[in-house]
């Protein structure tokens, strides 16, 4: 039944809907979102998707080229590496590891960063001033450099590199949160809440936090791409995940040994890493411009 509208109804999209509408118009960003979803699916269902065990060494099938090469075979679509491990399975597991760990790290860093940032934003006085200055300086330093320095202290290893990256990501979130909180605090609705007698925690939890969602998502995509780059870079430098692990950076490092004979062991894992970061950056860019457009209108 066709429902006709008797009254002239004006539909006001909520801010979130509005952002989504803007985002949808950006086709490349939507493609990036699909790509992102694809990596998310791989991360969750990777044992079902991978044709082989990523660490199974088939000593009879060393360095088989990918299927599209004249010498390649169909049983190993992406070929095998120098130890006869199926590259497709390793890349799938590698995506899980690199992507999954990064996601985890970003969530941890976000929780801590937002907490500390809120604290800094809500407080005033010397403590805040000193914190702000230190933060300003730290956030200009690349996370990877901070991570390398932390690893220099803790020693190489996957777990240590995770600690290092999480720690290095926190200042970014702190900074953004603090700025946001500062900005919101000066607005009228906060003033209204204050006049109602709301406590500081109440103001933060009920008035500011709900408005922070979008900013946090944008910041999280940024942090995610940084975290992926960092964790793979550390793996590549032998400071993070170590050799038999299928972390993409560590795989690239192993590939160097046979780079000249088996270039696909470098091209494919690196390509996967590249795709992953592009998709995240596309989503992040799309979101950011959608937000910007919304605010402009």
């Amino acid at each position: 039944m066709q429902q006709s509208s008797l009254y002239q109804e004006e539909h006001h999209p909520s801010p979130l809907q509005y952002t989504w509408m803007e985002f949808k118009n950006n086709h490349i960003a939507v493609a990036g979102l699909f790509c992102f979803a694809f990596f998310l699916i791989i991360t969750v269902f990777c044992p079902l998707l991978a044709p082989f065990d990523p660490n199974m060494q088939q000593t009879g099938d060393l360095m088989i080229p990918p299927a599209w090469d004249p010498n390649g075979g169909i049983s190993h679509v992406f070929g095998t590496d120098a130890l006869g491990r199926d590259l497709l399975s390793r890349i799938i597991y590698g995506c899980r590891m690199t992507f999954g760990i990064s996601l985890l790290l970003v969530i941890v860093a976000m929780l801590l960063g937002v907490g500390l940032g809120a604290l800094a934003g809500m407080s005033r006085g010397f403590r805040s001033s000193f914190l702000n200055h230190t933060l300003d300086s730290i956030q200009a330093i690349p996370t990877l450099l901070i991570a390398i320095i932390i690893i220099a202290i803790l020693g190489p290893g996957l777990v240590n590199s995770m600690w290092a990256i999480a720690l290095a990501l926190i200042p970014q979130f702190m900074h953004q949160t603090r700025d946001f909180v500062r900005h919101e605090l000066s607005k009228e609705y906060i003033m209204a809440a204050k006049l109602d007698g709301a406590s500081k925690t109440h103001i933060f939890a009920h008035s500011i936090l709900p408005n922070m969602g979008e900013m946090l998502v944008v910041q999280a995509t940024l942090a995610l791409s940084i975290s992926i780059l960092d964790i793979s870079a550390l793996g590549f430098l032998k400071l993070g995940a170590q050799a038999p692990s299928s972390e993409l950076g560590a795989m690239l490092l192993e590939g160097i040994d046979v780079a000249y004979i088996a270039p696909w062991t470098i091209a494919l894992p690196g390509g996967a890493l590249f795709m992953m970061i592009i998709s995240i950056n596309l989503v992040g860019d799309g979101l950011r411009s959608a937000l910007r457009n919304r605010l402009l209108h």
Binding site: I28, H133, I141, L229, A233, K238, G249, I256
Partner: protein
């Protein structure tokens, strides 16, 4: 103004104090004897050890020790490496300039490419040129720098054979180190074959510089583009048009200055990122820089070297970023602080 300066000096001093304290405490946190980690001497080198025991006054309490440690730091006595037995102060002095040299050339290259492209894209905002440049830049800043460097080596060194893939210069040339910057050192040296040495050094520079510059170029491009777009949308530009100026005149007289001045320090802020990328790329191109050196030290658990390298790099970066921060405040008091570059 004086207030700001005072606050920054204060901040730098406090940070330096924290960093030096951290590096001192590291000697205790690292495995092994603290004195070994501080001096790099092994316990069996007894006579020298007794000497340094007095120097670092290990028998006293920790504050006195720290005081002596700082004294040693300032006198350039940073201890020796476990691995090579060479004095660390000289090692850092040798390797740090190589990294700074590489990063500076990459920064220059990025400026030369990123700035003009940023202007072009902004002027063609919402047109094909803008979109294609923007897409390419997205690729550029998504690419993992170590993968890019490997691909460069595969293509330009191994397949085409155009460029060498390791080191700063062919080892057949022996360049005495004066400034630590190899191109300058070659020009200062009294080599017979100066020209071919220079060309050889350039050949070694190209691939690593380009690998690092790609990421930075895209960052600079995006920052410039955004700033120019915002400037062109502002009211004083409209006013300029209203006065009847041509687009070129508007851009030259009002656009460039107003778009560039606020972002120049932001662009300089790319230096730490560059240095970090340089550290990765160094280990691929066997570039004898601080990153390569520090990473080797981490592998070999060379604690004195880690301590010294960490201190040197973090002091360099912190002082650099803080001075840029300060310049921003002094030149543009409207800003409360260096806002993160919008890209």
């Amino acid at each position: 103004m004086a207030n700001v300066l005072l606050r920054y000096t204060n901040l730098v001093l406090v940070t330096l104090f924290i960093l030096s304290l951290l590096s001192f405490l590291l000697a205790y946190l690292f495995p092994g004897q603290a004195l070994e980690n501080l001096t790099g001497l092994r316990l069996n080198e007894l006579s020298e050890l007794q000497n340094s025991q007095i120097k670092y006054s290990v028998d006293n309490n920790i504050f006195v020790q720290y005081w002596h440690y700082v004294g040693e730091l300032f006198s350039g006595n940073w201890g020796v490496s476990f691995n090579t037995g060479l004095p660390l102060y000289e090692d850092v002095g040798r390797y740090l300039p190589a990294s700074i040299e590489l990063s500076s050339y990459a920064l220059l290259l990025s400026f030369f490419i990123g700035l003009p492209l940023g202007f072009i894209a902004a002027l063609r905002h919402h047109k094909l040129t803008d979109y294609s440049l923007l897409s390419v830049s997205l690729l550029g800043y998504s690419i993992p720098v170590f993968w890019l460097a490997l691909i460069m080596i595969l293509v330009f060194s191994l397949q085409l054979g155009w460029f060498p893939l390791s080191g700063r210069i062919s080892l057949l040339f022996e360049i005495p180190s004066i400034t630590g910057f190899i191109l300058i050192d070659i020009l200062l040296s009294d080599l017979i074959d100066k020209q071919s040495a220079f060309i050889d050094a350039l050949r070694h520079l190209i691939l690593p510089t380009v690998s690092i510059a790609v990421v930075t170029t895209t960052m600079i491009f995006r920052i410039t583009r955004r700033s120019v777009i915002e400037t062109l949308n502002s009211e004083f530009i409209l006013a300029a048009y209203a006065r009847g100026l041509t687009p070129t005149q508007v851009l030259m007289r009002h656009g460039v200055r107003n778009a560039l001045i606020p972002i120049l320090p932001l662009l300089a802020m790319q230096f730490p990122t560059l240095l970090t990328n340089a550290m990765i790329v160094e280990s691929i191109f066997s570039w004898p820089g601080i990153g390569n050196w520090l990473i080797q030290a981490i592998y070999q658990q060379d604690y004195p070297a880690i301590r010294a390298g960490m201190l040197a790099v973090s002091v360099l970066v912190v002082i650099f970023t803080m001075s840029i921060d300060l310049i921003i405040r002094l030149t543009d008091p409207r800003r409360r602080r260096a806002e993160r570059a919008a890209i």
